[in-house]
């Protein structure tokens, strides 16, 4: 089947389903309705018939009461005695009956019809007539045990009742009997007999009391039920056991037979059949289908009923009107829906089948070898995408086919190529053998599969030995870290691995090597190749240089300290003399001593500067960074320096940008820088203005010192910030400076992540400017962290950062002044430093700095596990410290430890995480 047909079929079945659902819903509704109405009709019929039975029972009761109250049994007994005494009872009875039937008015008959009993009976009939407006009991009489009338309200047909069938039936019953319905001429109505058997005091049968009950009462009950019926066309039928009609809403002849067909339905059913309702053709010609519900009489108490049946019938047209309405609505809807579904189906099937047909055609063409075939479907749906993918596949197939063609061609040349390959391999081997670097190739497991001569030389192994070795055996280092593990991990990620290693050769010789390795991915396998360079000589030189630098640094430090000691005696001595403590000195003596003192002071400053510069360069100078107002600092420096321009024609002013907010910096150091710049300006300015200005630009605060002095030539500006460079300005060197001031300033500013520079013009003046970052915190601290990360990166090592902050800083700041908190933090910092230096010599290179009420510990080359140990140790130490000073309840410390590259790879991120801005680790208590 074609896709189109399949789709059409699919949509048609949907349409059929819609129609089916419509049909089922109508059917279900009809069934439900039928059941509801059926149940209801049955209930109505049952209730009505029940009322009829009860009514009849009531009348039976009344007859009983009447028999009792009138002492009918006595009358009967009395009559029986008389009759018993007669010699020829039968003869007498026959004689009287003959006259009775002939309607003769003999004295005996007259006597019977007018005796006391008859009178009483007449009274009662009258009573009922008056009470109900009609003769409830149409006939009423009493017989003795011989079955002859001994009293009657009216003249009956016969005198002797004993020969009647009903009489025979009645006397068999013990108590009472109810007869079938009959037409009573006397009342021109239908009636049925109620017979009460009478017994004498000995319990012997004495006679009967007969009362014919007018059927009108029963009819009235049905008529009431009719009136209450909901459906207009509801019809009631009361039928006897003998299939005769007692009552029917429509015209009927009394006791007429029920139509045969209906009769079969009604009487053909057993009482146990359910449901007690059905649909059949109407009981009269021309009528449509009718709905019949029926019930059988059940009697009441000891009245067993007469087997009557009450039928309620409805015209189906009326009761199923709502269903017809529903059908009328559903039918057109389902037709419309089905039609629409079929139409949509046809449309969609066309929409899909056309491109599919195109695809099919294209596939057929390609199969036939027309590889240039492409499908032209531009839609953006799945088919469109499929078509694109299809085109792509065909394209590749086309390429592959052409490649295969080429390959076939090439295979014929394979032997030639193999030969060439063998030659080039040999060539490559020869080349690698002559290389001055070690070359190796290893498998994924680290087994060496090739090494060259230089490799064998470096590791002191033979070729055979080497190719039987694993990389793990070769790369024996004195370091504790697992280099091989790192190597494998890097290779697995298909990354380049390069590293300087200090290895031990097979013969126990130490060598510095530089390892460079890359993964080689071929079609069949992954191998790694690499080179090994012997860098022992270079490393030796580097070590030497490092040593030399350290020696220099130590030398400067020692010399400077050693110089201070004699200076102390000299200075104290001169002060002592100048002070006049050892006697008066004359003017000339004082003049010389002043010169000596000035130079001693200068020497002391020089030593200080040298020491400062040395500490700046070696990164050992600690900075105490606090947020401060740079304008305030500028004003302070201006005030302090005013005395220096007192004797000059120089004005020292400030130009401040008042929009500046507080920025972080080390106040003392920045004052030092600014003082130095102002000092220089004063030194080189004879007259004019020196301006200290502040401004903001691009996230940096600019602080400048502008003078109208001599100015500096362009060629000299570069030299300015170097150590021991003092310019010979105007041909002579100004004395008093160490030549280190600007170098120190530069160092300090750079430690703040700022810059310092000069703009100058000879003869017009100079402007020295330095910058401080507005948000210096990160930048400043980053420096140490950045350096550590860089170092770790270069060595393929890790580094960790521990941040210690005060959890309850806000509350603490309310209790203690900021400087006090700083002092405490400072003490803790010192404590931590001591701890690191004592416990672990390897940690001597670590940097601890305090910043913004936080302490940071930079652990170089330290992985997570070691960092955690350090953290625990520091935590314990600080806790002891707090406990000792009884601050443990007031200061809550928060430790956090992060590691590069586990937690972050940049300095900023690492610090942020350490500061708990992005907490990653639970707080350890």
């Amino acid at each position: 089947m074609k896709v189109k047909q399949k789709l059409a079929l699919g949509f048609t079945s949907v349409a059929l389903m819609v129609a089916g659902i419509g049909y089922i819903s109508v059917k279900t509704t009809r069934e439900t309705l039928q059941e509801t109405i059926g149940q209801k009709s049955v209930t109505t019929a049952a209730e009505t018939l029940d009322r009829i039975d009860r009514n009849i029972f009531r009348r039976i009761e009344e007859a009983r009461i009447l028999a009792n109250s009138l002492s009918l049994d006595k009358y009967a007994s009395l009559s029986n005695k008389k009759f018993d005494a007669m010699l020829n009872v039968q003869g007498y009875i026959e004689k009287v009956d003959k006259n009775w039937v002939a309607k003769r008015n003999t004295p005996t008959i007259r006597n019977i019809l007018n005796n006391e009993l008859s009178e009483k009976l007449k009274e009662n009939i009258e009573f009922y007539k008056q009470r109900y407006g009609y003769a409830v009991f149409s006939e009423i009489f009493v017989t003795n045990k011989y079955g002859v009338i001994i009293g009657s309200a009216a003249r009956t047909t016969d005198y002797l009742q004993a020969d009647e069938q009903w009489y025979q039936n009645a006397i068999v019953e013990k108590d009472f009997w109810v007869g079938e319905i009959e037409y009573d001429v006397s009342i021109n109505s239908f009636a049925f007999d109620i017979v009460i058997n009478l017994y004498d005091e000995n319990g012997n049968f004495a006679g009967i009391f007969e009362a014919a009950l007018n059927v009108k009462e029963v009819i009235n009950i049905i008529k009431e039920a009719e009136a209450a019926a909901k459906f207009e066309t509801a019809e009631f039928k009361l039928l006897t056991k003998d299939k005769s009609t007692i009552y029917s809403t429509e015209d009927f002849e009394f006791l007429q037979s029920v139509p045969v067909e209906l009769m079969n339905h009604l009487y053909g059913r057993k009482e146990t059949d359910h449901p007690p309702y059905f649909i059949a053709a109407g009981d009269k010609p021309g009528e449509g289908q009718e709905f019949f519900a029926y019930v059988h009489s059940r009697g009441y108490k000891d009245y067993k009923g007469l087997g009557w049946m009450l039928v309620v019938e409805h015209e189906t047209e009326e009761i199923f009107a709502p269903v017809a309405k529903l059908r009328n609505i559903l039918l057109p809807i389902s037709i419309i829906l089905s039609t629409t579904a079929v139409l949509i189906g046809l449309f969609i099937s066309r929409l899909i089948s056309v491109p599919i047909a195109k695809l099919k055609d294209a596939a057929v063409k390609i199969n036939k070898g027309q590889l240039t075939t492409r499908i032209d479907i531009k839609s953006k749906d799945e088919l469109g995408r499929f078509a694109e993918a299809f085109n792509e596949i065909v394209e590749r197939y086309e390429q592959a086919t052409s490649s295969i063609g080429k390959l076939n061609h090439e295979i014929t040349d394979l032997k030639e190529i193999e030969e060439t390959l063998r030659q080039s391999k040999e060539q490559l081997r020869l080349i690698s053998e002559t290389l001055p670097v070690g070359v190796f190739e290893v498998t994924m497991d680290g087994d060496l599969s090739y090494t060259n001569t230089e490799f064998q030389r470096i590791f002191e192994v033979t070729f055979i030995e080497s190719i039987n070795m694993n990389l793990r055996q070769v790369l024996q280092t004195d370091s504790q870290e697992d280099i091989c593990q790192q190597w494998f991990e890097t290779m697995k990620k298909q990354k380049h691995f390069t590293r300087d290693l200090h290895i031990v050769t097979a013969k126990g010789k130490y060598r510095w090597i530089h390892l460079d390795s890359i993964p080689l991915i071929t079609d069949t396998c992954i191998r790694y190749t690499g080179t090994i360079a012997d860098i022992s000589e270079r490393k030796k030189d580097e070590e030497k240089l490092k040593e030399a630098m350290t020696t220099k640094s130590e030398f400067i430090s020692t010399v400077s300290h050693e110089l201070r000691t004699p200076l102390t005696s000299i200075k104290a001595g001169i002060d002592f003399i100048l002070n006049g403590s050892v006697g008066e000195i004359n003017y000339e003596q004082k003049e010389f001593l002043d010169i000596v003192k000035r130079n001693v002071d200068r020497l002391a400053r020089l030593i200080n500067d040298v020491l400062n510069l040395q500490r700046l360069e070696s990164g050992k100078m600690a900075f105490n960074t606090q947020n401060n107002d740079i304008n305030k600092i500028a004003e302070e420096v201006q005030k302090t320096m005013l005395s220096s321009v007192k004797n000059k024609e120089v004005e020292l002013i400030v130009e401040l940008d008042n929009s500046l907010t507080e920025i972080p910096f080390d106040t003392d150091r920045i004052i030092q820088v600014l003082t130095n710049l102002v000092n220089n300006a004063i030194k080189f300015t004879k007259e004019g203005t020196i301006t200290i200005a502040t401004a903001k630009s691009h996230g940096m605060v600019h602080v400048s010192v502008r003078d109208t002095g001599l100015g500096i030539g362009e060629q000299d500006t570069a030299k300015l910030f170097r150590s021991f460079e003092q310019l010979a300005i105007g041909g002579k060197r100004k004395t008093g400076g160490s030549g280190l001031g600007l170098a120190i300033s530069k160092g300090i500013v750079e430690q703040h992540n700022g810059k310092i520079w000069v703009e100058s013009e000879l003869g017009k003046g100079s402007t020295f400017t330095f910058t401080l970052p507005e948000h210096g915190v990160e930048g400043f601290s980053n420096r140490y962290v950045y350096d550590a990360i860089t170092e770790a990166k270069n060595n393929y090592a890790k580094m960790s950062l521990i941040a210690v902050s005060i959890n309850n800083l806000e509350q603490l700041e309310k209790k203690l002044p900021g400087t006090k908190i700083d002092t405490i933090l400072q003490d803790m910092k010192v404590l931590m430093e001591d701890n690191l230096r004592q416990k672990n010599q390897q940690r001597a290179g670590d940097i601890i700095f305090q910043q913004d009420k936080e302490i940071f510990v930079v652990l170089t080359g330290c992985d997570r596990k070691n960092a955690s140990n350090v953290e625990q140790r520091l935590k314990q130490k600080t806790q002891e410290f707090l406990l000792k000073h009884k601050w443990n309840n007031e200061i809550e410390l928060f430790f956090s430890c992060v590691t590069y590259p586990d937690n972050a790879t940049t300095d900023t991120d690492l610090i942020e995480q350490a500061r708990g801005l992005q907490p990653m680790f639970p707080v350890l208590s």
Binding site: L567, S581, V600, T823
Partner: protein, 131 residues
């Protein structure tokens, strides 16, 4: 010369410095005793119980910092105020001294008046150690 009754112990291995400081202090009315290293300093402090100690750091036998710890560990000397007078000017050393109980830190070469003022302040105010 009239003395004010206050006794100051000067501990320094540089004889020149000891004599200059002693002279200055004597001139100002203080009784001066001297010691040439940490060990001697502690011994003198125990026997003489000075009102104040000026302590150098870089000394043979026992350096100033160790001497400071020793002084602070001994019951009879632990309350004597100590001023460090040394060439070591870096924060680490200053902080270490303060942490170990030094009450002042003067960097050599010092200004005479600065030292005297510090001494005066401490002795007059009965300055008691407090962090």
């Amino acid at each position: 010369m009239e003395t004010n009754g206050k006794k100051i112990l000067v501990v320094d291995d540089e004889q020149d410095i000891v004599s200059v400081i002693s002279k200055v202090l004597t001139k100002c009315g203080y009784d001066t005793i001297t010691a040439a290293d940490g060990l001697e300093g502690i011994a003198k402090a125990q026997s003489e119980l000075p009102d104040l100690i000026l302590l150098d750091n870089l000394m043979p036998n026992m350096n100033g910092l160790a001497a400071l710890e020793g002084l602070k560990a001994l019951e009879e000397t632990k309350d004597i105020p100590v001023i460090m007078v040394t060439v070591l000017a870096d924060e680490d050393n200053v902080n270490n001294a303060i942490k170990n109980g030094a009450i002042g830190y003067v960097i050599k070469p010092f200004e005479r008046d600065v030292l005297l003022e510090k001494i005066n302040n401490i002795l007059e105010c009965k300055y008691s150690p407090n962090i």
